[in-house]
Subunit: 259 residues, 2 copies
């Protein structure tokens, strides 16, 4: 959807091919250089940022729609996207809040009962990606798309602050039951590297001895007969994920207690 | 909604006062006598059972709508209802599956494009209640409403088997981060009673010494200067919840490791 005609048609007739009054928002966490960041769109005409979102086509499942939003903005495919919450409780969501954000001409052109101006509920997904691998492509409603460190976020629109907080809360809880790391670490990595990843996401120190033991007990790590030379006579062993076991724990959950 | 006219109006005009194509389903777990059960509706004209569900009014938040469904069926108020997943991925949900379940006359009367026949996505909530305290009231679409032990569920309609499985998975994971017990236990209870509750929900044995220590360390239990006489010279101490701390952990989560 790029040309003005296409955009006009979307606003006028979109309700015929998209699910009405339901949107999808993606909190995309990027990890790089021991830092956690979030992908935010600078929306046209609006004084603030929001997480990338979109609509669900009549013939798409929720998961397909979320995957497409992620792919369009980042060019990434096959990323683990996890639904975490559906947002329909914020008082503002009751009061056709989109009305506030469209220019007056919009209502003159399309009428006050246009489908885009109606009350809207949004399904939230999150993804974790290695952000140096991403090609950013803003959509037609945005003048920019960029990574922001989670500790210094800009002004957020709508209830997107609440969304980000809830996504982070969910990631931090899920890390106790489901592994993370694929897509975030190189194929082969050292124990200090995965340790650092978990500490960054949990935002707390984890015991240096107990942490790898827990992961090994879970069976998701394979120790390789290979070392990485990091200088000063230090050469830690390399590890990789046992993907079959990793996916099994991802699907079924397991209890991982970290201290 | 009880009379035939009201029902007719709902089918014909419901899309004017309800959110379109979005429903809400409640997996209600009942605990009593060391058993976990689920509340199921026997739907009219259909050969199977489903969890109680309903629609969202234009001016209701999701949480209000879920609370009302719970109250209408069980007469319970102020129960902790937790959203756990939104169901829109099952392939059947793409294909206007309601069509299959309405009699032919329905389409003749209301037309194939009636709002109730369109594709539908459903937000799932769960609740935990003490089931002996509940007054069951089936809704107008159901010929019955009853508790079923989680190990011997009857034939389930639509994707409601998946919903129940996902709800149980969520409860079992959340129990490691958020307390449960209020509404399920009497105001004063013994350590063996709360121990039994957690074991029933998790469906596994928990260490008899470690379990209460974890709860005490969390600060959600208060030991009373009172005992319950259970005969044969046994009189365990009674406990109650520190409600302020309980609600704090419920809101913010905390890490509770049980073995």
């Amino acid at each position: 959807m790029q040309s003005e005609e296409e955009l006009f048609d979307f606003v006028k007739n979109g309700h015929k091919y998209y699910f009405p009054q339901l949107t999808l928002d993606c909190v995309i966490f990027g990890y790089h250089d021991q830092q956690l960041r979030i992908l935010l769109s600078k929306y046209n005409n609006l004084d603030g940022w929001g997480v990338p979102g979109g609509f669900i086509k009549n013939d798409q499942t929720l998961k397909q729609a979320a995957g497409l939003i992620l792919k369009e903005r980042t060019s990434l495919d096959d990323i683990f996207l996890q639904q975490f919450h559906t947002f329909g409780d914020n008082e503002e969501r009751l009061h056709n809040w989109h009305l506030k954000y469209f220019p007056k001409e919009f209502k003159d052109l399309f009428g006050e009962d246009n489908w885009l101006l109606k009350r809207n509920i949004s399904v939230g997904y999150y993804a974790l990606v290695e952000y140096s691998k991403v090609n950013l492509t803003p959509d037609v409603f945005s003048e920019g798309l960029d990574w922001h460190p989670i500790n210094t976020l800009p002004t957020l629109l709508w209830d997107h602050g609440e969304m980000i907080e809830k996504a982070l809360f969910t990631v931090r809880n899920q890390i106790y039951h489901q592994p993370i790391g694929i897509n975030l670490l190189a194929e082969k990595f050292t124990l200090p590297e995965i340790h650092q990843l978990y500490e960054t996401i949990l935002n707390k120190k984890l015991d240096r001895r107990n942490f790898p033991n827990k992961l090994m007990a879970l069976g998701i790590l394979v120790k390789l007969d290979e070392k990485r030379n990091i200088g000063q006579h230090r050469a830690p062993f390399l590890y990789e994920f046992n993907k079959e076991r990793y996916n099994e724990v991802l699907r079924n959950g397991d209890h991982i207690a970290f201290y």
